[in-house]
C-alpha cells in the first residue's frame, strides 16, 4: 500500500516485541516459579529446567483454603454485578433517553465512580461494625455497589445511546408501557453492551482490594486479601505466593481471551466516550 522504508518496519516490530516481552516475561517467571519446589524457587542463579511440581497449588488449596476464598471472590463479584446491572440498566436507560435527573445525574454518577475508596472505607468500617455486617458476603456486596453501580450506569448509558430511538417510539405507538419497551425492545437490542458491562463489572469486583481488606474476615476473604495475608504469614514463601498469584490472574485471562473483542469495545467506550 503505502511504501515505507524497511528500517521503519524493522524498528516498529523491534519496539513492539520488546514491549510484549516486558509484559510477558514477568508473568512467565511467576508461572515457572509456581511449579518450583522450595529449593529451586530460592535458587540464585536460577535453574531454567526442572521437574515441575504441583505442591504449591496443593498447599494453597488444601492448607490455606484458597478454594473457599476463590468461591468468595466469585460469589461477591457475581452478586454485585447482577444487582448493579438490574438497577443500573433502568437508570442508564432513562438518563440516556430522557435526561432524567438533569445535568446533575451524569456529574453525580461520574463523581461517585471517581471517589477514592479510602473516603468510603472509613465510615463503612464503623457502620458495618455497629450493625454486624463486617465479615459477611452481603456487607461486601453493599460496599462494592458504591463504585460498581455508577460504573455500570456510565457504561450502559453509552451502549443504550447506540440503540436507535425509533425502536422505542415504535413500541410506544404499538401501545407498550415504557417498562415493556425497555425490557422487550431496548434491552435485547443492547445485549452485547450489557454483556460487556457485566464482564467489566465482574473484573472490577474480582480485583478490588481496599474494601475487601477492611470489611472481610476469615469467612469472607476474597482472593486478593487472601494472597496479601499469605505474604505476611509466610515471609517469602515464593512458590505458594506465585501459585496464589496465578490463581487470581488465570480466570481473568481466560475471560479476556474468551470475549476480547467485546471487552475492548466496552473498555474504550466506557473510558473515552461520555
Amino acid at each position: 500500500m503505502i511504501d515505507e522504508p524497511k528500517w521503519l518496519r524493522v524498528a516498529t516490530h523491534a519496539i513492539l516485541i520488546f514491549a510484549s516481552a516486558v509484559i510477558l516475561l514477568p508473568l512467565l517467571w511467576v508461572l515457572r516459579t509456581s511449579f518450583a519446589d522450595k529449593v529451586i524457587a530460592y535458587k540464585i542463579p536460577p535453574d531454567l529446567f526442572f521437574t515441575p511440581t504441583f505442591d504449591n497449588y496443593r498447599d494453597i488449596l488444601l492448607q490455606f483454603d484458597f478454594g473457599s476464598f476463590f468461591l468468595n471472590s466469585l460469589l461477591i463479584a457475581v452478586m454485585t454485578t447482577l444487582i448493579a446491572l438490574a438497577i443500573g440498566a433502568l437508570a442508564a436507560y432513562v438518563i440516556d433517553r430522557h435526561r432524567t435527573g438533569g445535568p446533575v445525574a451524569p456529574i453525580a454518577i461520574l463523581a461517585t465512580q471517581m471517589m477514592p475508596p479510602i473516603v468510603l472505607v472509613i465510615p463503612f468500617f464503623l457502620i458495618f461494625k455497629k450493625i454486624g455486617l463486617t465479615d459477611t458476603h452481603a456487607g461486601l456486596v453493599i460496599s462494592y455497589l458504591t463504585f460498581n453501580l455508577p460504573y455500570v450506569i456510565w457504561l450502559l448509558m453509552s451502549f443504550f445511546k447506540r440503540v436507535p430511538r425509533e425502536l422505542d417510539e415504535a413500541g410506544l405507538i404499538d401501545g407498550c408501557s415504557p417498562f415493556t419497551v425497555f425490557l422487550r425492545i431496548v434491552l435485547p437490542a443492547a445485549l452485547p453492551g450489557i454483556g460487556a458491562a457485566a464482564v467489566l463489572s465482574f473484573v472490577l469486583c474480582w480485583n478490588e482490594f481496599l474494601f475487601a481488606l477492611m470489611l472481610t474476615g476469615q469467612e469472607t476473604k476474597t482472593l486478593p486479601v487472601a494472597i496479601s495475608s499469605l505474604v505476611t504469614q509466610q515471609g517469602t514463601a515464593i512458590g505458594a505466593v506465585s501459585a496464589a498469584t496465578m490463581l487470581a490472574i488465570t480466570p481473568m485471562v481466560i475471560v479476556y481471551f474468551a470475549i476480547r473483542k467485546l471487552l475492548v469495545a466496552g473498555l474504550s467506550l466506557g473510558a473515552v466516550k461520555g
Partner: protein, 310 residues
C-alpha cells in the same frame, strides 16, 4: 385513523384541554422516568451519600476507635492531620502521579501510533499481549514484582549481575523505592492508556492525514501537526482519568512498601489508612480523606467539561 381525528376535534371544541392533557401526560411520563431511577437513587443515597455524610460529620469530631466518638472539635482534625505528615505524603503522591502518568502516556502514545500503522503485521497478536495487565489485580502485580525485585532472591538483581551492574535495594532503598514503585505502576497501567489512545487513533477521520501526506508532510510532521491536534480531547480525557486514579494509589503501595522505607512511598490514601487503622484516629483519617476527595472532585469536574466540549 378515526381515533386521531376524534381527538383533534375534541381539542378544538374545548380550548385548553389539549394543553392540559399534554401537561398531565408529561407529568405522568416524568413520574415513570423517576420510577426507573428510583432504585439507583435509593441505593446511592444509602450506600454512598449516607456514609459520606457520616464520615464528613466525624471529620469534625474527636474519634479514636478504642474510645468511640468524642466532642465536636471544629477543624482540629484537619489542622492536625495537615500539619503532621500531610505535606510529605502530598509531595510523594504528586511525584508518583506526575512521573507515572507522564511515562505511561509517552509509552502508550508511542505504542498506539506504532500499532495504528496500516501496514503492520501481527497487530492482533501484539494487542492481545499488551492488554493483559488491564485485567490483573494490583495485588497480583505487586506480588509478582516483589518476588522479582527481592534484593537477594529476586531474578532482577541476578540479571543485572550478569551485565556487571551492582544489585540494588529497590523497595528497601529510600532513594530507589519510589522510582521502583513508579516502574511497577507503569507496567500495570500503561495498557489501559494504550487501549484508550489506540481506540482514539482508530476513530480519527483519515482525510486530514491523507491530505497532509499528499502535501508532502513527513511522518513526524503528520504526527505532530495533524494527529496530535485531532487527538487533543482524547489525550486530555485519558490523562485526567489516569491522574485521578493515580492520586488515589493505595493497593500497590500497601503491597509493595507499606509506604516505606520511612515515608518514601507513602501516598495520601495510605496516610489516611495509617491514621485511621494503625493510629486508630478516625477523625483525622476522615479529614485527610476529604481533602483528597476535594482534589479528585475538582479533577472530575474538569474531566466532565472536557467530555462535554466534545
Amino acid at each position: 385513523m378515526t381515533v386521531t381525528t376524534d381527538t383533534v376535534r375534541t381539542d378544538h371544541g374545548v380550548p385548553g384541554a389539549r394543553n392540559r392533557a399534554k401537561r398531565s401526560g408529561a407529568r405522568h411520563r416524568l413520574v415513570t422516568h423517576y420510577l426507573f431511577m428510583a432504585p439507583t437513587i435509593i441505593v446511592l443515597a444509602l450506600v454512598v451519600a449516607a456514609p459520606l455524610f457520616y464520615s464528613f460529620y466525624l471529620s469534625f469530631h474527636e474519634f479514636i476507635i478504642t474510645y468511640g466518638q468524642g466532642d465536636f472539635i471544629g477543624f482540629d482534625n484537619y489542622v492536625g492531620a495537615l500539619a503532621d505528615d500531610f505535606g510529605e505524603v502530598s509531595w510523594v503522591t504528586m511525584k508518583l502521579t506526575f512521573f507515572a502518568v507522564a511515562l505511561e502516556f509517552l509509552v502508550a502514545f508511542g505504542l498506539a501510533l506504532l500499532l495504528n500503522r496500516p501496514t503492520l503485521r501481527f497487530r492482533e497478536g501484539y494487542l492481545v499481549i499488551l492488554m493483559i495487565p488491564i485485567l490483573m489485580t494490583p495485588v497480583a502485580v505487586a506480588l509478582m514484582f516483589r518476588l522479582m525485585f527481592n534484593p537477594n532472591l529476586g531474578i532482577i538483581n541476578w540479571v543485572l549481575s550478569l551485565l556487571y551492574i551492582p544489585g540494588q535495594g529497590w523497595f528497601g532503598d529510600p532513594a530507589m523505592a519510589l522510582p521502583t514503585v513508579i516502574f511497577v505502576d507503569v507496567w500495570h497501567e500503561t495498557s489501559l492508556m494504550l487501549l484508550m489512545l489506540y481506540a482514539g487513533l482508530k476513530s480519527l477521520p483519515s482525510e486530514p492525514i491523507e491530505a497532509a501526506r499528499i502535501d508532502g508532510a513527513s511522518r513526524l510532521q503528520i504526527i505532530w501537526y495533524v494527529i496530535v491536534p485531532l487527538m487533543r480531547p482524547i489525550i486530555l480525557v485519558t490523562l485526567l482519568i489516569r491522574m485521578i486514579s493515580a492520586l488515589k494509589s493505595y493497593d500497590l503501595i500497601y503491597m509493595l512498601t507499606q509506604g516505606g522505607p520511612g515515608k518514601a512511598t507513602e501516598t495520601i490514601s495510605f496516610y489516611a489508612y495509617r491514621l485511621g487503622f494503625r493510629f486508630l484516629d478516625i477523625g483525622q483519617a476522615a479529614a485527610v480523606s476529604f481533602v483528597l476527595l476535594g482534589v479528585v472532585i475538582i479533577l472530575t469536574l474538569l474531566l466532565l467539561r472536557v467530555m462535554r466540549e466534545n
